[in-house]
Symmetry: C2
Subunit: 408 residues, 2 copies
């Protein structure tokens, strides 16, 4: 096997969220283990943006159409995004994060937050570097580090037995920095658990990064969808220097705007400059017309966000109650976002086969925990941004299949 074949062998996507359609093609004809469980199909691998679930922000499509009518100036922006939109976002993100942002130098618009993550990692990590990564965390983080030829140093998140903290093992983080980790990459709120890092955890992450001169890339994709009373500290304001942090956000999740592929990264101007250079050869720019949709971001109608959060809280609480009614399931109450990450009781079936059967028999798609941590082969992730009743009914079907597969 040559170097490039080896590189891509590690880059599996068969179990990645959204790819189930390809897998089911290859597993057609496998024996069915039981009778099918009827119900509306629910794909928990991502949020549902249809009219009976969560629709895009009002005004998004109108802003897009206006962008099309502006023509060339909207189609061909600077690689880092249209200047006027960056200036508007810089003000919004400064107010949101409590820390100034220069729209000219410290912000880049990218085709989705995935692109922002890729560019941030590729602009700070090179072959042979060490990178600290939380387990569990967003599935692409590990793959990004591996693709750069860098070495991952895992840092444990004890999310199940903590409520006051997210549960980061700060000693492991310090050890990672001592071992030479130049970059720490994590999501807050944590994907897949919905844990929010406490003020003291954020303070200690900032202090450690400052002490060891490390760069921190923090993916805050769900930081607007905080459940009532939940405190949230932005890392970029907590760091002494404040200059070693890149923050990534986007309007894809809370706002159901994924179909437009928009993200932003803001922070250290030198890293943002590198990200723009790289974007020039990776994708040129975020789709010009889509960029116009960012004018609606942080400018939603009054009450719209609170209402969206309250609807998600209701679904969350119903699904938590159902999972907690299943003997042996352990699940943390997400403090933010729309992910649940229940740990299942011991099953007589390997996780991949269990997940496949859920899909084929119960029309329920979930993401196996192993996408998020090698130690999570007992867990599944659900994005509960779905039609409320359909989601409740689907989790009832999951409970039924768990009972059938429970190790006696």
């Amino acid at each position: 096997m040559n170097a490039i074949e080896e590189k891509f062998l590690k880059l599996g996507i068969d179990n990645a969220p959204g790819q189930e359609v390809r897998e089911s093609r290859s597993s057609e004809g496998l024996p069915q283990e039981g009778a099918s469980l009827p119900g509306i199909a629910v794909d928990f691998s991502h949020g549902d943006v249809n009219a009976d679930a969560f629709e895009p922000t009002p005004g998004a499509l109108e802003a897009f159409v206006q962008g099309v009518h502006r023509g060339g100036s909207q189609a061909y922006t600077e690689y880092r995004g249209q200047a006027a939109i960056r200036e508007k976002l810089a003000l919004d993100l400064a107010a949101f994060s409590g820390h100034p942002v220069s729209g000219a130098e410290e912000l880049i618009i990218t085709p989705g937050t995935q692109s922002a993550l890729f560019l941030a990692v590729a602009s700070t990590v090179t072959a042979g570097d060490k990178v600290a990564i939380v387990q569990p965390d967003y599935f692409a983080n590990r793959k990004l580090v591996e693709f750069m030829g860098a070495e991952m140093i895992p840092v444990r998140l004890e999310y199940l037995n903590n409520t006051a903290h997210a549960g980061l093992d700060l000693q492991q983080l310090e050890s990672a920095f001592k071992a030479g980790a130049k970059v720490f990459l994590f999501s807050n709120p944590n994907n897949p658990t919905g844990a929010v890092y406490s003020p003291s955890e954020i303070g200690q992450i900032a202090a450690l990064a400052d002490k060891f001169g490390a760069t921190v890339i923090v993916d805050q994709l769900y930081s607007r969808l905080l459940y009532a009373g939940q405190p949230y500290v932005h890392l970029r304001g907590a760091s002494e220097a404040g200059d070693n942090v890149v923050t990534i956000m986007g309007p894809s999740k809370t706002e159901s705007l994924s179909g437009y592929r928009l993200g932003v990264a803001f922070g250290n101007a030198r890293i943002i400059q590198r990200m723009e250079k790289l974007q020039a050869i990776v994708s040129l720019r975020a789709p010009g017309y889509c960029q116009a949709v960012l004018q609606t971001w942080f400018s939603e109608p009054a009450g719209w966000l609170a209402d969206r959060i309250e609807k998600h809280r209701q679904i969350r609480d119903d699904l938590l109650a159902l999972f907690r009614g299943v003997e042996g399931v352990a699940v943390r109450t997400p403090q933010a976002g729309s992910y649940l990450f229940p740990r299942l009781p011991k099953l007589r079936t390997p996780l991949q086969a269990f997940v496949r059967e859920l899909r084929s028999r119960a029309s329920v798609t979930v993401t196996p925990g192993t996408e998020f941590s090698p130690h999570a082969s007992d867990s599944i992730r659900l994005n509960f941004s779905q039609n409320h009743e359909a989601a409740v009914d689907a989790v009832r079907r999951i409970a039924t299949v768990i009972e059938e597969h429970r190790l006696a």
Copy 2:
């Protein structure tokens, strides 16, 4: 300087097309060399998609809006793009290129052709590899190779003194393969010159690639915009095996759909599979709603494409006549696409300063030839997909500034 700083130092974008807005900010206050030349501002660094120039394909916006209304199924597609759209495109691209394409396995939809290029290079080239690159050619090709840590082997294109052929130095290409080049990356039609490779050149490229077991990535972005009677041979049909070619196209240029950021790559299934794996961590997928616009591609109204080509031919011929009226200018007649690449007479001003002055005094933006070849510091590139009269007037202003700067 550390490894990553060095890596990004090579990745300059200051003179890249579209970035002039940032450069002008940093060069404010430079002394002006002469009186300003009045006229409508023309940005030849890219095509103009406004109503008085070339508008997007009819039906594109409607297809997008229908995509938005389809909701989740359009927002969250497979990473390689929505299956039904891939099937439609596979038929169209097979008919266009005269060679079958499997929509399931041999095609990926990307966020723009730039992404397709990045993914194709990153899926076939790794650090230390050798890659043959044409000079001059699309500015990102060289940067992509350098970013991968690979070594570029230049192959000369003698575009000025050829009409029957594009002018590729086939002996240099063979030497590059002999020296170990695993990949050959080129655009056809050539960007920036508009040269189309002749049937015999394509046949010899295919034979050499087959002989040396090399992969060829061919960027055919402008291959639909062929001027009357121009023969065009698709490399993918010319190769013996046909299995070592990745072809890149997109609806951004001829169809003026750049604002939607759409591209496709098709060819070798193994490479397409790698590209999808990589897309999963680089950008997830082309914007879901934008993918819907691809339904209009190769399905334009009857006569639409012929009319668009004829309008471009008229602009091309007027600009060629103007440039050829300037003593010492040499310019090839583009056989396809909307680029002109005139070689200027000897000037007393370095190219960068000349280009800056064109912009500041004459409101004309062009791209310096050095973006395309280190040997083209005497040339400029113009994308003439513009309002006809404005373009003619702008080239008259370029001629005036050339006369002022001519070396006596």
